[in-house]
Symmetry: C2
Subunit: 441 residues, 2 copies
Amino acid sequence: MPLRTSPPPLVITDALLVTQDAERRIVRGDLRIEDGRFTHVGPRAPREGAEQVDGRHFAAVPGFINTHGHVAMAPLRGIADDRDLGGFLGILFKVDADRTEADVGAGARAGIAEMLLGGTTSFLDMYYFQDATARAAVELGARGFLGWAVLDADKTTQKGDPVDNAAAFIRRWRDSPLIQPLPAPQGVYVCGEETWRRTRELADREGTPITYHLSETLREVHDHEAAYGKRPVVWLDEIGFLGAGQIAAHGVWLTRREIEILAGRKVAIAHCASSNAKLATGGICPVSELRRAGVVVGIGTDSVASNNSLSMLREMHVAGLFQKHHRWEAAALSHQELLDLATREGARALGRAADLGSLETGKIADLSLFSLDHPTLQPATPEAIVSHLVYSASEEAIDSVYVGGVPVVRHRKLEGADWAAIRSQAAEAAVTLWSRRPAGA
Amino acid sequence: MPLRTSPPPLVITDALLVTQDAERRIVRGDLRIEDGRFTHVGPRAPREGAEQVDGRHFAAVPGFINTHGHVAMAPLRGIADDRDLGGFLGILFKVDADRTEADVGAGARAGIAEMLLGGTTSFLDMYYFQDATARAAVELGARGFLGWAVLDADKTTQKGDPVDNAAAFIRRWRDSPLIQPLPAPQGVYVCGEETWRRTRELADREGTPITYHLSETLREVHDHEAAYGKRPVVWLDEIGFLGAGQIAAHGVWLTRREIEILAGRKVAIAHCASSNAKLATGGICPVSELRRAGVVVGIGTDSVASNNSLSMLREMHVAGLFQKHHRWEAAALSHQELLDLATREGARALGRAADLGSLETGKIADLSLFSLDHPTLQPATPEAIVSHLVYSASEEAIDSVYVGGVPVVRHRKLEGADWAAIRSQAAEAAVTLWSRRPAGA
């Protein structure tokens, strides 16, 4: 499926630019986009040969970067509510085990559509049958960092060896401009030393990031200590796994020593506040300590089965509330820091700080236009705009979304995709998947 | 300003009715509305003489009841972020002190518009110049339970005696169908025994509810203990203040004994999870203990200065997350309970269970129509709909809102009100108010 390629140059004129650059400048100005990148950010851009979009009523904001999720689970929203992780997985494993590539694709299209409509332009994902998710991302124009789930061969329903499957997936997609394929070990509870080592070798060989679940629940930490005599981070470091280019999801139950190890090895954390709270994991990711130690932290929604929203707007709000509450410190995770986590820090976590996460000349043009007239952005002043984006903006305020300079949402509608068809295919998949719930669930 | 009165009978046909009745029935069926009340809820209603709305693509949901806020503060969103209650009030008191009735009205219109667009049909409010808020509510068609703020005369910038002002306000509005005027003591830190006693006498005489702030911060509790030797609830009970028809906002720092007293006196609690967390009050309202003891609990957003959203959809989600997290109990505040808090329990808190809070024959027709086609409501099945309303629905899914059978929002637009004018008047008020911020804030 060829994506609309090489659109003409585009100038968005006179918008409120929430640049998220190093100085966090917020200025009225223009954005000129050519070949998918910003060629001008600031006062009056050259208009020659460019399509123009009147930006006067809009704030231009970097596209959100969702650093953890399982997007193809879209049809499973609400299937296992109000249960802890054990009860949750008891249902999910049954429902998830026998998915087809077709229903993974249907779920991925619905989830990606929801994310794009919510201003998320890049997402880091962990699942299987990721070719279907990759095709959905390309079709809808989203930037997918797609992790192929890796488990020990005796713990998965995948056909063949999961590390080999991940390697083959990477080879199939490594040259696609919108897709970054990568391996994704599920966690220490289903991956033994050999699996971690082979995954690291694969990523080193192919030059890809790695993502994995880490210390989400206290039980997982205790079980690992009981089996190996060491906490997960210490153990993963001792077997030589940890290294730069890794994004560990959750990172809730971490000691100071583990934080130091993560910082030293340049491992990033994807913070998933809503999912952790909804599953009653009891802990709070130590975001301030991680950042102070130099660990890059991004924000992740996790899947709709445990969140149950894919909204990065909601997730910034929730992440801020939990940090402030937990520390009795209202200044913890300020609104500026929260917007950073959802944009430039997410880009750093993915190793793409040079390319993504802010509106700056030379970077890829992934951005949203928020309507400054929307009720949830009032009063729409430059000094309050970041607060509003983080604490009050509704998805409805997002008029348009661009990925690589290509419009993927315009006036709240997907561009070049049929939401009604996506919805009905996902609804069909839901019927099949929900019928597999264990009795009594 | 005469509200559109006596609309013709209306039948909403074949909608998914989330009745919130005693059995929490969710059924496909019709709603017939005459003279502002449901005359039929369920399979095929008589259509005679009625306007019809095709409900096939909608879920009909009782209007949300926001049990605590200060709606006229709409222009102050973002003015005092990332500060604890002390720092917050330091700014707010300066900005709030010299408001005019005109700018209160401008703020109230913007805030009420935001609430209606978010499916909130009733709201309990505490502020001064409430005539302006009452006029705004009537103009926009919202149901306002409007508390006139009462403080000791030496602690307020109000002209005249606050209890007398409240009494006069009640007399002016007690016969208005959409407005329930009431007195609203601000809290034990600005109200002495005499003020509480006079407020209670006023409410008894006029037959109104009372609302007040209660035990929001640990400091407020400690200061009261230091001054009076008793915790606030114990003291308020001993001076004879507590009684049925009272809605206390926050109720975070409560002992078991205080919970028993509140239950015995039939005082309701308005739970404001986002505001408490954002101000880093450190505590969590003991919702489960309160409900187990028989205390009615509703949900409140508090104002945009401390939330910063007026979304009851967000607030249900956040309230659920904090209870689950805090108790390490994923089943705490289930999605059904959360929707109850936002609808029928809110009605009970306001003493209006016979009239409001569910879709039942004889009750007032306050409801929203949620589009079942919206991305955040997928998969849109009857068994998952409550979960979606609570954990994922976006305001954008709310197509239409009715108050007393009168459409106040249709296809995401205010009915009979001009949002652009409301927004620009609130923006003007914001300029003046923000200029009063203390230096360095």
